[in-house]
Symmetry: C2
Subunit: 216 residues, 2 copies
């Protein structure tokens, strides 16, 4: 039985370009990892969808595990650049970071999802560049006088990240037009800012809130 790998997607010959090949592989890898999780990733499938020979994939990444690692690292880098890449002085503005994050995740929902799965399964999360940046940004905000007192920074960080990353997945932004994606990002940031400014409850109409569930 021949080792086919039948070159479905790119019959047309193309210029040699190792970096591009590498990126093409990584991109497909990220997409598949986002869909089925890192454990389900197969080099064969990646090669096929990327339109390269399986041998080529093994040439760039020695083993399946290394491909997984390379993909997650690559994604984390891209994400950090996109969210914190702009001018240093902007970093303290939470609404800018939120906007960047929402924008990035809507544009590249697979990357956000890969990052999320990775960070959830990491032993030491401080190893991750993006998380360190994000966390310190949140800590700075919580400690500032712009924030209410008593905010639980970790809950806050997890809440913002999970919802920003999964909102585009929920909305299937991948199969939307640029305009629709714009609207998705906009809806998200608008509602988050609204929430952060006013909360949900009209307190005057919802006064009996001391009655909290017993198990809390």
């Amino acid at each position: 039985m021949a080792d086919s790998t039948p070159q479905l997607t790119r019959p047309r010959k193309r210029r040699r370009d190792p970096e591009r090949t590498r990126e093409a592989i990584l991109e497909v890898s990220a997409k598949l990892m986002a869909k089925d999780g890192p454990e389900a990733l197969s080099v064969s499938q990646v090669a096929q969808l990327a339109g390269v020979n399986r041998g080529t994939a093994y040439h760039h990444f020695q083993t399946r595990e290394q491909l997984v690692k390379a993909t997650t690292d690559w994604v984390s880098e891209k994400m950090t650049d996109a969210v914190f890449g702009d001018a240093e002085q902007q970093r303290n503005r939470p609404e800018v970071v939120l906007g960047n994050l929402a924008h990035f995740c809507v544009e590249y929902p697979e990357f956000g999802r890969v990052w999320l799965v990775r960070i959830l399964s990491m032993e030491d999360r401080n190893q991750d560049h993006f998380w360190r940046q994000f966390k310190s940004q949140v800590d700075r905000f919580v400690a500032s006088e712009a924030a209410h007192e008593g905010i639980d920074a970790e809950v806050h960080a997890v809440r913002v990240l999970t919802s920003a990353i999964l909102w585009p997945v929920w909305m299937r932004s991948r199969s939307a037009t640029p305009e629709e994606r714009e609207e998705m990002a906009s809806r998200f940031t608008r509602e988050m800012m609204r929430l952060h400014l006013d909360g949900l409850f009209r307190k005057e109409k919802y006064s009996d809130l001391e009655m909290m569930p017993t198990h809390l």
Copy 2:
């Protein structure tokens, strides 16, 4: 080469109990699906960890795909019961639902995660029982006079669900003591209620909020 399945976990003989066996398989299946995703689930591994023969697993679930489906259905049911199972009249209280949800997810983080992965990949989400209940609860709240005007119900629902489900995963509640888990649930609901009541910003100290990022 022998088909081993070497019975690692349960050398001790036990009473026959088909329902229990079925549940044991489903439980392990859910745990593995939460860790590695449904695509990576293997019947062999499930059988091994559940301490039953592979044949038994195939006796209860004809194929791998059916096991995956049975697991997700089972999880969705359990979740609905846990969150909306109490008295009907309580349903309108958002803080009760939030408390139930937080509690359930901290106690059974795998179940929440399985449900989340499933719902994200479903074509028609209204097929899912839990989602229908949750969404209608949110819609009712948003339409009530207890809520601020202009809340985006879908963003709100996705935000609450994703963070409630992934917070315990983040905190690794699975390997915590009951007291620690209690504290995790408590931290989450406390912060969420605080957020829902007051928001994040002290508006008087953060007045220049009209300066939103351009791409929003």
